[in-house]
Amino acid sequence: MNEEPDILKIVKEDILKVVGGKDEKIPLKSIEVDTAVSSSIVSEAIKELKEEGLIEISSEKETGEEYIQLTKEGRVRANVIIKKHDILEEYFKERRSEEEAIKAADILEHYISIEVINTIKKLNTFKDKGIPLTEFKQEEGLITDINLNIELFERIVSMGICPGEKIRIIGQIPNGIIIEVKNKKFALDKEIARKMKVLEYEKA
């Protein structure tokens, strides 16, 4: 019923981010330490990145150790991800602790589109941070925050319900609320709705 979040895509982006965060080439081995997933997925991701021409692998003659380096195109992609992360991190820092902000940005950067990032940038300039969805009376609004534990946060953003997205309230049900985001309808628990902040669309 539910689509699994695309782990490979996430790992690939994480690798680009890790390599892109440093100026020189870095040892292949250190990648596996940085991202906490099984090594088979990491090597699969590296293989695909190489095929897509985003990274290059070179080995040092003396030690035989392999190094990973971004290509020009890979650098562009990495910069986009890093930029997304920075914008998101800064955004969430206004709303929660630094540690949690980084965590939230680490997740959301994989799911959010450039378009929505622009909205996030704009939202960051607003003083009005929105009201809980349960108290929201208009039909349309803009999601400004979803303050859930990390697992639930990842699940909800992987379904496309992200801060910065437009939200439409369709109706109430006894155990929750029916909303529409990106042309998709969802049934949301009241518990989640309470922790979701929404801004009037007109104000935005």
């Binding site: 019923m1 562009v76 704009k122 300039t125 155990n175």
Partner: protein
């Protein structure tokens, strides 16, 4: 002859290459891959005594993000002498398209907007007021469809009119495109820098690009120190570049919202109507319950039909083995085949039909509404809404249903749901209830066994909820649109759910039957009668019934046959109605068989699985004995 040079600009996948082809003929191939036009493609065409050169640029989202494509487009835009630009705008994402329009208008290049996908937008209920947009932007707009060539001639016509002597038009203000107005502090900085700009390009544009930290534009400045001067006194606004793009984006979305109107489509309206009923607080659960009941009625009816046919076939097949029946191997083989036949004739049609109907409900979009409705009640017994599907699948076969609990987000939730399979009768257990209890004891008795299962399950679930604290998984579910199901998809989905059953369960059913055959021939089955007699005494059943109760665990479908073999085919004479009922309860509550146990071990480990299985069976026996005693009082 007059000459015109026109640039095509637009986002990737906006139909730019198709438009280019429609304008100049099929000189370049159109491909669906994003970023097809990595290089700049040019083509000339003579129209009305004018030679028009069209230049196709790479697809870009803006001219500020510094990708290769953007650099190429930018250099064509400013370094070649172009008379104007046709910007292809995607009616489906007006907001994003308008960003680049606003940016190019800042460069004071004459612009025509070619609005693509307008029909698609209309189909999705997005209505765009073109006249209003034209007035707001002060730019001509032509609605096009490169595939049907609609609007292409008009586009050329407008371009010829618009792009001749564009400078004059801009200077006398008749075609001064919309300009984004920035915050006062930014405007001040723009004005300041403008004074130091030299060259042909518009001063305001250069100033904005410089403030956006685009170093390529520094060369147009007479004195670069002006940048630092302009930014001085703006320390409170350290992110001017970002503020500029935010304002531009904000303006784009403002204009988009002014001219767009979302009309709920007919389909959406009817969908809402259906939802209002299906998700109604009273009707919703009622419809859910009645639909499931109806499905079971259909299943029992269809299942019986196919079962009769298949049973007839397998019996014929088995009777051909009569000759070997008296050899030991023959007897083992026959038990194995009976087990296999049980699997195929009882479970296969039932399980497959059930999974098919379930897949159908899922694909039509109704199942997720049912989940929402049942969530309210499942939550009360401490289960997440998503456990609904595995629980339903459990009515087919427990083994694949145990695997299906993986949709739940935590192992704890998974285990708790799996424990309830002790009370959700699978097809084999339903066959015992209908075929033995119902057949020999009557419908009411069969119904009481079902009811007892439900009560025992509820007590179990409440008990777990009370003693094991698990934070409930909140409702978070996509409600797909209602649609006509594709039978191919439904078949494929049912097959995936059936796979475990066919490849794993059915062979094991044959093995279980054979194992029972071996035990029976060697007389080992009788050994347990004496030591287990306290259990049968507790249940108020003849001591021999322990054989089907215990060995049914090897192959549940054989339970009925085992019962007949130990007490004879005249079950209604050998057992009282209460005994039939007690036998039904004792043999159906609990993790049903060794295959389910194996699946539990696979998912949760040996210890947890065996503890659950043994506990659930003891619980079933306790419950059956208790109910029998309570009834006897009256």
């Amino acid at each position: 002859m007059k000459k015109l040079k026109i640039l095509l600009i637009g986002q990737p996948n906006v139909g730019k290459s198709s438009l280019f082809n429609a304008l100049v003929g099929p000189k370049v191939t159109v491909s669906n891959y994003p970023g097809t036009t990595v290089e700049v493609i040019k083509a000339k065409k003579k129209i009305n005594n004018t030679e028009i050169e069209f230049v196709d640029t790479p697809g870009i989202y803006s001219i500020s993000d510094r990708t290769e494509e953007e650099k190429v487009t930018e250099s064509v835009l400013f370094e070649e002498e172009v008379d104007g630009a046709i910007i292809i705008v995607d009616a489906l994402s007006l907001e994003r398209s308008l960003y680049i329009v606003l940016q190019i208008l800042e460069a004071e290049i004459p612009v025509i907007i070619a609005l693509n996908f307008l029909e698609d937008a209309q189909k999705r209920g997005i209505k765009i007021d073109c006249e209003k947009l034209e007035k707001l932007l002060n730019v001509p707009i032509v609605s096009i469809n490169p595939l049907t060539k609609k609007g292409i001639n008009k586009l050329v016509e407008v371009a010829l009119k618009e792009f001749f002597e564009p400078t004059r038009r801009i200077e006398d203000g008749t075609r001064q495109g919309f300009k984004v107005k920035y915050d006062d502090h930014i405007e001040k900085a723009i004005n300041k820098i403008s004074t130091e700009v030299e060259g042909k390009l518009p001063k305001r544009f250069i100033a904005i690009r410089v403030l956006e930290e685009d170093e390529d534009f520094y060369k147009y400045l007479k004195d670069k120190r002006v940048v630092r001067e302009a930014k001085e006194g703006l320390q409170e606004h350290p992110k001017i570049a970002e503020d500029i793009s935010i304002t531009r984006y904000g303006t784009a979305s403002f204009i988009a919202s002014k001219v767009t109107q979302i009309i709920p489509l007919k389909k959406e309206k009817s969908e809402r109507k259906i939802d209002r009923i299906l998700l109604h607080k009273i009707w919703g659960p009622l419809i859910t319950f009645l639909s499931l009941l109806a499905i079971f009625a259909i299943l029992l009816w269809l299942g019986n039909l196919t079962q009769e046919v298949l049973m007839g076939l397998t019996e014929k097949f088995l009777s051909s083995f009569d000759a070997v029946e008296h050899s030991i191997i023959g007897m083992v083989l026959i038990q194995g085949l009976t087990g296999l036949a049980g699997g195929i004739s009882i479970a296969l049609p039932y399980v497959f039909l059930f999974y098919f109907l379930l897949g159908l409900l899922e694909d039509v979009g109704i199942l997720s509404r049912f989940i929402v409705n049942t969530e309210r009640f499942l939550k009360k017994i401490g289960l997440p809404g998503k456990s609904f599907i595995p629980l339903l699948l459990g009515l087919g076969c427990t083994a694949p249903a145990i695997r299906a609990t993986r949709v739940l987000s935590s192992k704890k939730e998974q285990f708790r749901t799996a424990s309830l399979f002790a009370f959700v009768p699978c097809s084999s257990r339903i066959a015992i209830i209908m075929g033995i209890v119902g057949f020999y004891g009557g419908g009411l008795l069969a119904f009481s066994v079902f009811a007892t299962s439900i009560v025992a399950g509820l007590i179990w679930a409440f008990g777990i909820k009370k003693f094991i604290q698990i934070k409930n998984e909140p409702l978070l579910l996509e409600l797909p649109p209602y649609r006509r199901p594709l039978l191919k998809n439904v078949f494929a989905k049912s097959w995936i759910r059936m796979k475990d059953f066919v490849y794993l369960v059915i062979p094991l059913l044959a093995l279980g039957g054979m194992a029972y055959g071996v035990l029976e021939i060697t007389g080992l089955t009788n050994i347990i009668i004496e030591p287990f007699s306290p259990i049968t005494r507790w249940l108020g059943l003849p001591a021999v019934t322990i054989i089907p109760l215990v060995f049914g665990f090897l192959q549940k479908d054989l339970t009925g046959a085992m019962l007949i073999s130990v007490i004879g085919s005249e079950i209604s004479l050998a057992l009282t109605p209460i005994q039939i009922y007690t036998f039904g309860v004792a043999s159906t509550i609990g993790i049903p068989c060794i295959i389910a146990l194996g699946m539990l071990i696979n998912e949760f480990g040996f210890k947890k699985a065996t503890v659950l299985t043994i506990t659930s069976i003891i619980y079933g026996f306790l419950f059956a004995g208790l109910v029998w005693r309570i009834i006897s009082i009256f």
